[in-house]
Amino acid sequence: MKVLVPVKRVVDYNVKVKAKSDETGVDLANAKMSLNPFCEIAIEEAVRLKEAGKAEEVIAVSVGTSASQEQLRTSLALGADRAILVETEIEVEPLGVAKILKEVVNKENPDLIILGKQAIDDDSNQTGQMLASLLGIAQGTFASEVNISEGSVEVTREIDGGLQTVKLNLPAIVTTDLRLNEPRYASLPNIMKAKKKPLETITTDDLGVDASPRLTTVKVANPPEREAGVKVESVDELVDKLKNEAKVIS
């Protein structure tokens, strides 16, 4: 079985992001960039499938500028066998990414495609579902457990209020939720090895995809700041404030 894992380069989750002062976008100058945390979980799941003898090859793919090579190397260090960068200078929206990935899937014919459920930059939560839709295949989104069997996969999904299990025909899409696994750290020897693994670069033109954006960002602003309130000295004072000042309990 072949597993394809699309990954995204995003601002590191520890960075507190602010809008630019002219409100034209987000100020990312000098911000630390990382592999999207949900993509890390996706790579981990694919590598575990390989280690369990259920998958033969794990391919990481990313759509972005040449800087995304860094995140692909990270993916290789975590255990992916090879990587593909679809290089583009434009900021591709989820629909465009899904169209690009569809062409990659048609070339590579993976049995399973594992993606993060959302990227922590634009928080869209769309790409996996859109790719599944364009391919006309099944999806198990927000997965907390993945069990492969012959020709199908059972996915346990995190839904509002609990868990849902669905059975999907392969090939299928899985998008990862937090509890699916705990990603490993890349060891130094594996980081060194990753430098020698194959990383192929292609362009959107090579794939013949029009991934031009449909949305225009009119402005990006900081949300209204919440002011710190007061410290209370005791539980009694707290209850009194909630009853008589804030009037949120009776």
Partner: protein, 309 residues
């Protein structure tokens, strides 16, 4: 302007999140249809007809839509969506699961999790865990949108007299099937629509200690939430998680107990009207956004709080 709202339901009851989406739809225009896709779901369609100012309710009643499988429901929305200028669903696990499939079939972008309607083609949405608010304009002929339900009030649910139209499209893709569902039964209000939420974090130390929150929740009629740290530590299940990648809540009162206040948690609760933080670390970032902060050991403060409510 013709708008399609996707109903959220369990084949028996119309979920209240649908009413928040109707309010968002009303900000766009007045010709609003509601789609109820399910199995044996006529009581849901009936409830939907009572929402005032609805044009008509479309009911797709088929085994294929019973468990809201995204493959089948997404295809249905993609098929009938061509008749509309806007398609809206709640940003719930169902909405997030199904709607992008429809958008891809319609070859349009999706605008996720909108928090405000600026005009018929321009919307506000939080990005970067709510650290920024983006205003985005769509150039697509059909706008496919998921709605952050806490940003819109509920519409009225009674008084309307819309008619039900049965649609017989069959969009069973036959690639997926439902196996089982484990939904926690609880007498407490639902987390995302509760008036009061009390959440525990890593400071709770273990899952058993969440019982300290239960007594208070019972007295206040509150829902119980948790931070990602508490979920990751295995104290409580993930469906209790409040935050960027969990549930977004905006109750009248949010009580954060033993939660330090990571950006990702704040993203899920900072629009609450009143925030209370109980934490023994007076430097915890949660105090920077709390209206009332109590620096105390939660194992002493919680029993005392319960006894004084």
């Amino acid at each position: 302007m013709s708008i399609l709202v996707i109903a959220e339901h369990d084949n028996q009851e119309l979920k209240s999140s649908t009413l928040n989406v109707v309010t968002a739809a009303q900000a766009l225009g007045s010709e609003i249809d509601i789609l109820v896709a399910g199995s044996d779901c006529s009581s849901v369609a009936e409830s939907a007809t009572k929402i005032p100012s609805i044009n008509k309710v479309l009911m797709a009643d088929s085994e294929a839509y019973k468990n809201c499988l995204a493959e089948n429901v997404g295809s249905l929305i993609g098929k009938i969506g061509t008749n509309y200028t806007h398609i809206l669903a709640a940003a719930t696990s169902n909405g997030k699961n199904c709607l992008p499939r429809a958008a891809a079939l319609l070859d349009v972008a999706q605008i996720s999790d909108i928090s405000a309607v600026v005009s018929e083609d321009t919307f506000e949405r939080p990005i970067y865990a709510g650290n920024c608010i983006a205003t985005v304009q769509s150039s697509d002929s059909i706008k496919v949108i998921t709605v952050r339900t806490t940003s819109f009030d509920s519409s009225e649910s009674e008084g309307g007299t819309a008619s039900v139209e049965t649609i017989s499209e069959n969009t069973d893709l036959g690639v997926s099937s439902f196996v089982k569902e484990e939904v926690a039964e609880s007498d407490r209000p639902e987390l995302t629509s509760a008036d009061i939420v009390i959440s525990g974090g890593r400071g709770m130390q273990n899952g058993d200690n969440f019982s300290l929150l239960e007594g208070i929740a019972d007295k206040l009629g509150a829902a119980i939430g948790a931070s990602r740290a508490a979920v990751d530590s295995g104290f409580v299940p993930n469906d209790m998680q409040v935050g960027q990648t969990g549930k977004i809540v905006a109750p009248n009162l949010y009580i954060a107990v033993g939660i330090s206040g990571a950006i990702q948690h704040l993203a899920g609760m900072k629009d609450s009207k009143v925030i209370v933080a109980i934490n023994k670390d007076e430097e915890a970032p949660i105090f920077q956004i709390a209206d009332y902060g109590l620096v105390a050991d939660l194992f002493e403060a919680l029993p005392e709080l319960e006894s004084k409510l």
